[in-house]
Symmetry: C2
Subunit: 422 residues, 2 copies
């Protein structure tokens, strides 16, 4: 081990989290909610501190040449701190999943088997710039009865540390041990590697950030990882679409916030409505500053300003004002395209045709499928989950926005009267 | 790649399975049930063939010096073939999870979000001796809409191949493509390694067998693995236990079938009933041929024939007529012992005291917890799941006996009327 003190520090953090998780699992909803409220109040009472600490990150970010977009994501002002507090209160308001009886099975031999939701244990969150991730994830983990280990990016170091310290302070004098919230202070990449070896103590890792970070995490651990690598989201405009609706949905999915995983990256258009739809749509998009990369048919229909799409465009996550556009022969071709090039994240069909929607829903193998709505709604808050620890494109355990339920497992409790097996 | 032809063969198998999975996902319950019935009938109509092929395995096993216990697990007779057919019919009778709406969320903006169960895709089963695993797993995978790749141990090669061929033949002329059942014929360990690299095509791996096999599988793949390494199951006899009941439960949990993962390996006894309970209990066990390894207190109470337990006994999975016995000071010590040395599989408390049972259920971190019943009931059939593909001690995705539901994931289907994100 290259860095023995760092290793020892992280082992200690992981052990403390494990110990805290055992008692946190026994805390009732009322006590957890009281703590969430105290956390929200603590953030609101310390806005000035948070903004001051955040200013250190912003200064370092500017000096280090962070892009404007990243600096904006990093920035905390009064409104954003209020947003963080509100998110804790939203999580407070969501029903506690722990203890919920998911199913009761009565067997002919008299055994009663209850499937009961329980916390998972210790959750590791490894994330990049946005400081609100710190408080969102802490709120969700505490409410679901899990200890949490935070490892944020160095860009937000002072902000994350300040949020962590306030939230941890809010645990003092409550029934929840302060060890339930842990913070890895080292900004060394080595720290991530060590954390990923703590499979004895950590039950699940959620990486949030760019594809590079997520592949690094998934490739360096035996701890189960819940993740999405990227979001190559599609909107398919069917021949039976309401084209005005399609125009608004596609515009929203691409333009409203292009830098996020649920933004549209490829638009598929049925050949029968392409001539009516594409010129207007592409005009709107170009007015919003979108660079359009089209298939040959698209370029024949809209002859001005559409670049030729290359093979790699179909699987590209631009995270920017760029859009790939393809004209397809029908719903099945759209489905095949999405299943081939997509990322199983969020895909939409715009159609008034129930059969086309059914076929799309049955056959597209993605976490979230939309008919007549923008893919931008794939989000824990928009789903009514309060917040999210991340979005999963994995098929096991949890899929789509991951919040309280995704932070639980279950146990079978079996009630007998002396039954033995024959 | 050391063995290119083998690699190519396994890629072909995995690709065929993936293609078949896409169409199998669309097959309705009626058609899947018809296929399960046909499979059961095919096995029954070909008992002689199965027994003949099985004889080849038995002969090779005897020549290779397989233990009596292993030869017994390997052996097929008329009754066991009938058991395999019955298991397919039991699976047929279970409700199809696919398409089930798990939850409907209505959002203030009018979006309707349905969480719908779907098949996972392609399941790889890597297993050792017992041939019935082949038909049990095929039945569960087909019923849950998943393609399956079978990789059995070489000891059961002829038996597994014969079962596979009959089941695959039963798919002909049905709506389910024959590619949905795949069989890796090579008995080379290299074949397992190659299979584990097929993360592009295989969605989940379930290894069944000894701890060595399971650790090998988990350590050589990026495909999600659902597993249990071992079953170190406990029964805790509380001071408020009905001691006659405890005697029957402990005897059953240890003796009825010692070679399986849900058999008891350690018995914990409250100090207040140890003097009344242990002499009778240990006498029963010794009469059944059980070797008892006790803590010092146990050995003081029962002075004859109890060996001294060593430190490693507390975490040992004997899979044999051996039992570790420890006297504890109370429920909390029993809980701590189980959480420290157990395998999070199945643990029981025998007590008439509701508070002790509650404490045990809340604090023991295992997949299946029993009050007043034998741990031997941890089993898909006994839980009413028809059969099982395995038992999971993982916390994510599925815990305990894994059957149809554990073979599904879900997708969110979102119904809009043109909603865009603000």
């Amino acid at each position: 081990m290259a860095n023995k003190p760092l290793y020892n520090e992280i082992v200690k953090i992981a052990q403390e989290a494990k110990t805290a998780a055992r008692s946190l699992a026994l805390v009732d909803t009322k006590a957890k909610n009281a703590v969430l409220r105290k956390m929200a109040e603590t953030l609101l009472a310390n806005k000035a501190t948070l903004i001051r600490e955040n200013a250190k990150d912003l200064k370092a970010g500017r000096a280090g040449g962070l892009s404007k977009a990243l600096l904006d994501r990093l920035m905390l002002d009064e409104k954003r701190v209020e947003g963080m507090a509100k998110c804790l209160m939203d999580t407070l308001a969501i029903k506690d999943p722990v203890g919920q009886v998911m199913e009761t099975i009565k067997r002919p031999n008299g055994l009663v088997i209850k499937k009961v939701r329980t916390p998972i244990g210790v959750i590791g969150i490894i994330y990049e710039a946005r400081p609100n991730v710190t408080s969102d994830c802490v709120g969700l983990c505490i409410k679901s009865g899990n200890a949490v280990i935070l490892k944020g990016g160095k860009e937000a170091y002072y902000s994350n540390k300040a949020i962590y310290e306030l939230l941890r302070r809010a645990l003092r004098g409550t029934g929840i041990p302060t060890g339930a919230i842990q913070f890895v202070a080292s900004t060394d990449r080595e720290a991530v590697k060590i954390l990923l070896q703590m499979d004895r103590y950590i039950d699940m890792i959620v990486p949030r950030g760019g594809e590079g970070l997520i592949r690094f995490v998934a490739g360096h651990t035996r701890i189960p990882v819940v993740k999405h690598y990227k979001g190559v989201c599609h909107t398919y405009v069917d021949k039976d679409a309401d084209l005005n609706m399609a125009r608004a949905i596609c515009y929203n999915a691409k333009v409203q916030r292009p830098g996020v995983c649920n933004a549209m990256e490829t638009m598929l258009v049925h050949k029968d409505c392409a001539r009516r739809f594409l010129p207007v749509m592409i005009h709107d998009l170009q007015n919003a500053g979108v660079e359009v990369r089209g298939c040959p048919v698209t370029r024949r229909i809209v002859n001005g300003g559409v670049k030729a799409a290359q093979a790699q465009d179909w699987s590209e996550e631009y995270l920017d004002l760029i859009l790939a556009v393809k004209v397809v022969n029908g719903t099945q071709e759209a489905i095949d395209h999405i299943n081939t090039y997509g990322s199983q994240h969020s895909d939409a069909i715009v159609t008034e045709n129930q059969k086309a929607a059914d076929q799309f829903f049955k056959s597209v193998d993605s976490a979230c499928l939309y008919v007549n709505a923008s893919t931008r709604f794939t989000d824990g808050f928009e789903f009514g989950f309060g917040a999210e620890v991340g979005i999963s494109t994995d098929k096991l355990h949890v899929r789509g926005p991951m919040a309280l339920e995704g932070l639980t497992t279950y146990k079978y409790e079996i009630y007998g009267k002396g039954q033995i097996r024959q």
